[in-house]
Amino acid sequence: MNNSNQDVIKSNSQLLQKEMISRNYDRITSGQFKVSSTFVPGNLNELLMCFDIANNLPEINAIQNAMRKKSGDFITEAERSGHSEDVCTYVKADIGMMEKGNIAPNGKPFPDPDMLLLSYTGCFTFLKWFELLREQYKCPTVMLHVPYAADGKVTKNMRDYIVTQLKEEVIPTMEKISGIKFDIDRLREYLRKSAQAENDLVWMLEQSKHKPSPIDCYFGGVYYMGPIFTAFRGTDEAIVYYKLLREEIQQRIDLGLCAQTPEGDMSEEKYRLVVEGPPNWTSFREFWKMFYEMGAVVVASSYTKVGGVYDYDNFRHDPDHPLESLADYCLGVYTNRNLPTRVDMLARNVKEYEADGLLINSIKSCNSFSAGQLVMMREIEKLTGKPGAFIETDLVDPRYFSAANVKNRLESYFQMIDQKRRAGGSATVAV
């Protein structure tokens, strides 16, 4: 299953995904398609596909640039043009990339977008980000306002409000830009395919309940969730990808393997964690290594729900209620959920995945994730009786990753778990 001749050990599904991403960049930069920039959480990929519009995701570009060690220069460039140090680093990486020629990872320049599709799903910065891009590109900007699920519940009013916007604003704009008439049956077909891939995605997420877990659901998880949260939901490619992934994971379970890492399979699973918050991308490998070399595997993470939540309330795209299901998808995005729901979600993860505790990676420049995290941690500790820990890094700004600091906290946390295990119920043993 593994291609061990490479420096980084990658599974076939990872290699397939790499090809898929690269094909999408070729599509975006080909000049043959209209292009929309849009955000990952609650993205409307199936709808864009109905108009043959290519989907370009600036957050993913920022991540790609961070993993290629380019984001630092882009951020500095954006700061030179007046963006403050505290602004979301995804934004600055994007702005900096534009200022440095707007070159896509395939080496070709990104075309100017034909539209900006702004699904507002809990991140206020998205609004400001596209405001900046609108100023730059002077292209049509359509905003889908998704009401915040402040009471933890989605109401009919909320859903109707979104459907109305889709009908009255989003779809007409797409029709106008693409010159293609909206065909709801085409959408239904895509949504059917989405649901099929989504079933396999959820199956994947749940496999880390095994002991040992065959997968890492944070570091590995960001690869596994890639196609569903980007330009592939609704495609046959995604179905094939998740089928392949499922087979690979099944094989790992049959062989009793621990999670896969870039250096091969973990030899021993010592700690099972639930992680809240996005990973750091600039030192992704180094960060991951701090976990697997200590025998820690992430069995569930909120970040693998960032594009949309499928497992918590069993959401699937529904071809029978196409626009309503798009609305529900947007409403259910993780960052659009209120704190009690996030607490419940994570506490359930800790219990159901039999984790040793919750680790929060708090992101310096991401308030939509970070606000309230410490309160969440305390709550989850209370609900589960398991210790929590808190580390701080950033998304794509290499200056805000202090390896020594993070490692120190992680090692302390792992040793704290050890100490608790050793102490067991005893009230007299100190170490």
Binding site: N405, N408, A427
Partner: protein, 433 residues
């Protein structure tokens, strides 16, 4: 005898605690971390063994009969012996460097100047270690360095030599000296020499010279077997022993504080580069912790920077701040901004003591934020780390704890700098048994 050692490698100092099988602390050792953790670990370990030998010697002498006086004098004389021995090595090393290309042309005059300098320091040494003499630091580098600087400037001037050249020879040589670790034999000889001096100095002892020497020789003959050594602190991964001998300093500080004050539930540790708020349970097990993030604002190093900016010693900061009549408001604990704020306040004519009081308050405000994020103060509170020695910092802390959490017991041990190493030694004890 079997011993268990914890070594805490800090960014500024490296500490070691040595305990026996009954978890009794026999000795503590400290040295500057000198950007060479291997050596720092070895030196601090040797120092803890020296301290252990003192303890064992003390036990052998028993109390009364002038034993306390003898021990105090022995320690003083031992330090003098140690100093003179290192000074000799430093001198010899300096001379060796004179053969280098860079100094060759001036070799004669430089040697002459250096001889004068070292001769003077050697003569001064007994005064440095005289009874009751105050030293700003106990580290050889600091004591020898400050004397060298003072003397080299005037001696060099008289000889028409540049101060920089003399300083350069010193800088090169001190690094070599600092990377040496005294052998057990050297230490034994120094202790015996120290005892000989002490026996000559202390009057009215009930112990005979022969008995004292016999007792010391017996202590020196006892092997202090390193049964298990645990390393902690930022340099822990550099320690020359396996992974399972390494513990996080958060856990070590939590456990160390618990051992010093068993009712402790909250620990604040302010070290050179980080500030930690730790919550422990009734067994000293860490249940929660928070620490500063990437930025070391408000940590011990910040005080060092401020001291440099004000051109005063780190030890002087607290006492000066204690003379304040009010605390000047300082907003930033950012080391970079603080320099600017400091100069700004000085320019505005603010009193130096008041500004320093404000700076100490700013540090403690930041520490309070970390404490509250770790879970606050509910029961007994223990303050550890180098900054716990600073009386102005402690004063601000007491005030802020009272304002935020009401009347709480605040523990500060005189040995608080050894908290992490003590926790480490206890981990070593558990692992080795």
């Amino acid at each position: 005898m079997r011993t268990f050692i914890g070594i805490d490698l800090g960014s500024t100092t490296t500490k070691a605690v040595l305990m026996d099988e009954n978890r009794q602390v026999l000795g503590r050792g400290i040295t500057n971390s000198r950007s060479n953790y291997d050596v720092a670990a070895k030196v601090s370990k040797q120092e803890s063994k020296i301290a252990a030998r003192f303890t064992l010697f003390k036990n052998a002498l028993g109390s009364g009969g002038g034993a306390e006086l003898l021990l105090a004098d022995l320690e003083r004389n031992f330090r003098l012996e140690q100093f003179l021995s290192e000074l000799n090595q430093l001198e010899a090393t300096c001379y060796r460097y004179l053969d280098h290309e860079r100094f060759k042309d001036l070799k004669g005059p430089l040697r002459e100047a250096l001889e004068t300098v070292f001769k003077t320091i050697t003569v001064e040494a007994p005064t440095i270690y005289a009874p009751g003499a105050e030293r700003k630091s106990d580290f050889f580098r600091d004591i020898a360095g400050s004397r060298f600087m003072n003397l080299a400037e005037s001696v060099g001037k008289q000889a028409g030599l540049s101060f920089d050249v003399l300083l350069n020879v010193y800088d090169k040589s001190i690094i070599d000296i600092e990377s040496q670790v005294s052998s057990d034999e050297t230490v034994s000889a120094q202790l015996l020499n120290g005892l000989a001096r002490a026996m000559g100095e202390v009057a009215g002892l009930d112990i005979s010279k022969a008995d004292a020497q016999k007792a010391l020789e017996s202590v020196l003959g006892q092997e202090l077997e390193e049964t298990y050594v645990v390393g902690t602190g930022y340099g822990r991964v550099r320690l020359p022993f396996p992974k399972e001998h390494i513990r996080s300093e958060i856990l070590c500080h939590g456990l160390g504080a618990h051992m010093m004050f068993p009712r402790t539930r909250t620990v604040l540790d302010i070290g050179g580069q980080d500030t930690k708020g730790i919550q422990v349970d009734e067994n000293g097990i860490v249940v929660n912790f928070q620490m500063n993030d990437r930025c070391a604002a408000g940590c011990g190093r910040y005080l060092g920077y401020i001291a440099d900016e004000m051109n005063i010693g780190l030890h002087e900061l607290g006492p000066i701040a204690m003379k304040a009549t009010k605390a000047t408001r300082i907003n930033s604990t950012c080391t970079v901004f603080a320099g600017a704020e400091l100069r700004d306040r000085m320019a505005m004519g603010e009193n130096r003591a008041d500004i320093l009081a404000g700076l100490h308050r700013a540090i403690m405000l930041r520490a309070m934020s970390i404490i509250s994020r770790s879970g606050g103060v509910t029961e007994e509170f223990t303050f550890t780390g180098g900054v716990a020695k600073n009386e102005a910092a402690v004063k601000e802390l007491r005030q802020l704890i009272f304002e935020n959490y009401g009347e709480k017991t605040i523990n500060i041990s005189a040995e608080s700098i050894y908290t992490g190493a003590l926790g480490g030694a206890s981990f070593a004890h558990s692992a080795g048994n």
